[in-house]
Every structure is written in C-alpha cells, then in structure tokens.
C-alpha cells in the first residue's frame, strides 16, 4: 500500500527543494529541462496529484458547491440535482449534497456545517417547515458572510438573492384554461396545505383562470392534502361526495392517486373526467392512462442555478463586493399532453 505521495517526499527522494518540484510540475520555465523531466517522470510514476485540501486552504476556494434539498427521493428534486451536478462537473466543481428532510433544524445544521469552509456557495430549495415558520435567519447569515446563494423552486421574497423558479401561476392558469376550453365545467384542484408557496401560486393561477372564464370558484372543489401521506381516505371521501369533470393536481403523485380512485369509482378517463398534474416525471409517463402534465424542466433549472452560482462565485473575487446584483430566472413550464385529457 502506497499512501498518496506529497511534494515534500518527491523533493526528499530527488534531493531537490520542494519549490523546485512544485515549479517543475507546473512546467515553469524557471526550471531546467533536465530537472523538470526527472521530476515529472518521478511524479508520474508515483501518481502524484496535488492535495485538494491544501489547495483549498491556500486558495480559499474549495471548488465544492453545497446543495440542500428537502427530499432526495422525489423525482423533481432529483432532476434538478442532476442538472446541477452536470453543469458543476463541466466547470470542475463537486457537489456536496445534503437533505433537509423538510425539517427546519436539519436545514440549519447542514448549512452551518457546510458554511465553515467546505463549500464556495449554496444552491437550495427551502424545506416545508422553513416555509411554514417563515424563519430565514440562517440564510441571511450565509449571505452576510458573503457566501453566494441560489434558491430554486421553493423560494421566498424575504431573502434577497439569486433565484430560479418556474412560472407557477401562469402554467396553472394555462392548464386550467385548457380544461375549460375542453368544455369542462366543474374543475377540481388537489393541492397541498397552504404554506408551500409553490402550491399557493398554482392555486392562484387556477382561481384566476376560472374567474376570467366566467366559472365560479367553488370551495368544495378544492381538496387540500398533507404533503406526504399514505392514507387515501380523505381523497376517497372527496371523490365520493363531489361532482367534477376535471382535476388539476399540484404534483403528479396526487394526480395518479386521484386517477386510481376515480377509476375505482367507475369513471372513465378522460371521457368522464380529465386530469392534469404538475411535475412531468416518469410517474406521469408510466401512469395508466398516461398523465397529461406540466413539465417543470428540473434539469434545466438545475443547470441555470448552477451557472448562476458559479458565476457569482467566480466574479466575487474581481468585483469584491461592490454592490451585488441579484436576479430571478424564470423557467417556462410546458404542458405535455397525454391520455388523461381530451386531445
């Protein structure tokens, strides 16, 4: 077993100084051809690679970016993560992944761990609990330390930083409008509890679309479900007691579950009732019938977020805090039509 070799060892072995070795390996023209070759050969032989940690310490730059997401077993976040990872990779950055598990405390702890030098910047989506509590002091602190931060999807107006979101309002509006134009009159909405601002925006898009098209907003047509749930009773009761001919769901899982219940009640999809869900993941594609859904383009979101972050990181040096300028990128969601709506 040969532990990683260091400059010092090479230097000792070859009886030259450390700095000569360092320069030779960088092809510095200060060093003679001879020694350079000798040193490089030796280094290659022993698979010399500079130690990242030492470099980080010296450069005050880790080439790591921290990503905190609420849940890794969630198709959308996973997709964003992939986008981040892919872009980061092209720029030579590693991704340190932490999961907040929708918990405020875990979010805070993870941020603190990473903020102590492990990374050059954050990309994150707020945990449900953080949104519920409306407490963002940990984000403020990070920003205060001059560490770049990009928020995506689950964002908040209370923190001033770079953001990437989709046009939730507009896309829900569009989807609802499509249902109306298909001739649907009683359009239900299945959403989460109200503290998730993404859901809230989608709900608003739904409401406005109804209003603008002369349909009355019927509260009985709105079902609010806990974000993570196993129990279908509430949904079953909803379908049993409510008359509807279309359903908009704020995510694909709600949609597929709802479809199953409707089918069990003898409804035909899309003849009797159409469905549209948010998050165009594999579940939508493989559903039976395949679900019409609103693609959030998570991978692109991740790409954009990573790009924004790395730009901030790398410009930070130059501008050195003149007056940071923040922007919010909006990714346009698109409707993917499948079997669960009338074509």
């Amino acid at each position: 077993m040969k532990k990683k070799i260091t400059l010092k060892q090479i230097a000792r072995e070859l009886e030259v100084s450390i700095s000569t070795v360092s320069k030779a390996l960088k092809n510095s023209k200060e060093i003679s051809r001879d020694t350079t070759e000798k040193i490089q050969a030796f280094a290659k032989l022993y698979h010399y690679k500079p130690n990242n940690i030492a470099l980080s310490l010296k450069n005050r730059r880790t080439k790591n970016i921290g990503v905190i997401i609420p849940d890794i077993v969630h198709h959308f976040f996973t997709t964003v993560f992939r986008g981040i990872e892919k872009y980061a990779d092209t720029r030579g950055y590693n991704v340190i992944a932490c999961v907040s598990d929708e918990s405020f405390e875990k979010e805070v702890i993870n941020m603190e761990m990473l903020a102590n030098g492990s990374i050059d910047g954050f990309i994150m989506a707020l945990s449900a609990e953080t949104q519920r509590k409306n407490d963002f002091h940990h984000l403020m602190e990070i920003l205060d330390q001059g560490m770049p931060l990009v928020l995506f999807d689950r964002v908040t107006d209370e923190v001033i930083c770079d953001k990437v979101v989709i046009n939730d309002f507009e896309s829900a509006y569009m989807a609802t409008k499509k249902l109306i134009e298909d001739g649907r009159k009683r359009i239900a909405l299945i959403t989460t509890e109200s503290y998730l601002n993404v859901s809230e925006k989608r709900a608003q898009g739904y409401c406005n679309a109804l209003k603008d098209h002369g349909l009355e907003l019927d509260k009985n047509l709105i079902l609010r479900l806990p974000y993570q749930f196993e129990d279908e009773k509430k949904s079953e009761a909803f379908f049993a007691s409510t008359n509807m001919d279309a359903v908009l769901c704020v995510n694909e899982i709600f949609a597929v579950r709802a479809m199953r219940i409707a089918q069990a009640n003898g409804k035909k999809i899309p003849e009797d009732i159409s469905f549209i869900g948010f998050t165009d993941g594999i579940i939508s594609k493989l559903a039976n019938p395949a679900l019409t859904s609103i693609a959030q383009h998570g991978e692109r979101m991740g790409n954009v977020a990573a790009k924004m972050l790395i730009e901030k990181i790398e410009q930070d040096d130059e501008i050195e805090q003149e007056e940071a300028t923040y922007k919010t990128e909006v990714i346009e969601a698109t409707l993917i039509e499948r079997e669960s709506t009338i074509n």
Copy 2:
C-alpha cells in the same frame, strides 16, 4: 458584510496569542477563567466556527464521504443515497455526490477528483460501462492508497473490498417459484443486456426455479432490453409473438411498461397474466394495477454501506493496516404482493 472570522483575528483584536484563543475556545484549563470568558464571549459574538478545511488539512481527515452512483434519477439509487446520507449525518459526515451517468470515464474522473484529499472513503455502485469493460484499475488504485471503499448493488468479484448486495439469485428464485405455485406455466423474463451482473444473477434465479419445478427453459420467453430505452417496439413484438401467462421483470420500469402493452393487447392482469418486478419503488405502488414487486430495501442498504465505510475509516487509525478484513453484507429482499399477481 462580515467575512468569517479566524483565530488570528480574534487574537489580534483581543491582544492575546493565537494559541491562547485556541485553547480558551476548547475550555482548556491552562487558560485563566477571565481570558477564557472574554475570548468565548467575543467568539460567540462573531459567530466563530473553526474552518473545516484547515481542520481537514491538519487532521488528515475530511469527514466527507464520496458517493458515486450511475444515475441519480433512479428510484433505487436515490433510496440508497438517502440511507447513506441519513447515517452519515448521524456520524457528522457530509456526503459528496457524483454521478457517473453509467460512463466508465466519468466514473474514473470523479474518483480521481475525490481521491485527492476531498474525502475519507468511497461508496459506489459500478457504472454499466465499467461492468461491461470489466476494467477496475481505478478501484484498485484507490484501495492501494489505503482509501476505504464500499461497493453496493453493482459489485464485482474482481475487487476485494467491503460490499453490500441483495440476494438477487434467491429472490428471483422465490418470485419465480411463487408464480409457478400460482399455476403459471409459461413464465417470461424481461431483463437487461447481460453485462449487468445483478440482472444476470436474477436471470439465474429464474432459470433454476423453472428447472427445479420441472418447467422447461424456453429461450423465446426471455426478452433482453437495453438498459435505458424509449422505444417499445421490441417489447410489443415480444408480446405479440409470444404466449405467456406470467412475467418476471428485473426492474419496475420494465414491468410497468410491459403491463401497459399487455393491457393494450386485451390481457387482464392478473387473471390472464401476472407480473412481478424488482425494485419496490413508487412506480410499483402507483401502477395500475399495483405491481407485485421485490423490495430491495435501498435505504437499509445505504445505511449498512455507510456504517461499514465509517467503521473502516475510523478504525484505520488504530489498526493502521495490520491486515484489512473485508466482508459482504447481504440484505434480504422481500416480496410485496399487490394486484398484479394472484393472491
């Protein structure tokens, strides 16, 4: 904006030496009550936290573990990842995630990046291409440097290290046996191309079960699909040309796609034909009909892998390379019966 404060700055500010500060913050009894209090108060005020990078350099220990998986948008790997992350978190470790995208080259590059000091050990599943090429020199090198490595799921006998796998052979055997006992006679297998050793073991379990129960192995009943594919033609042709009353699939996506085709052909599930898939993910649960599947307990796998790795990391100090001993943990898969098989 206040950049992170360092020991040196505190020392200068308070006009004491760096080491006094360091000791005071550690409550060393060498330092007088007075100075200790003064220093601690000051440190708290400025949110002092030791710099991880400096600690890593000093301790030659990063408290990071590197995870390389072939694909992050994949329910099983995601689940394992969560298990790793959760356990790592309890032990104060961060997880650096890299995705090989099923590519040998990306796997090698990622490993090299991380191996240069960024992490204390690896957890990984081999990329498809690596398994196909049967080239493991990069793993050997890592081990040679004394860096702990735990392989999970996609493992190989050619590398001697810690491993976590499920009992692929046995569980495929069991599942096939169940189908036989349900009275099925013509049981198909839908699997991947042969270089994925996991699929191969499952296929063997299937074959042996047939043999042991007096059923002949019919090659026409085996369909090999590319690992990632969009095109259903091959599957459609298979279902059109082949007569079968049950199907075992090496993953849930194959299974759900196959079910759709069978249904489109007018088959009733499970009356005319039953389905069992591997990977008990959300897709199985939400399928219509819900898919009977073999749970691989990814989260537990991740847990176990992380535990094995961290143990190795932390014992490495003490034992300092006496004679490393490696083990392979087997996680027992379990059959979750749902609507796609006869109860």
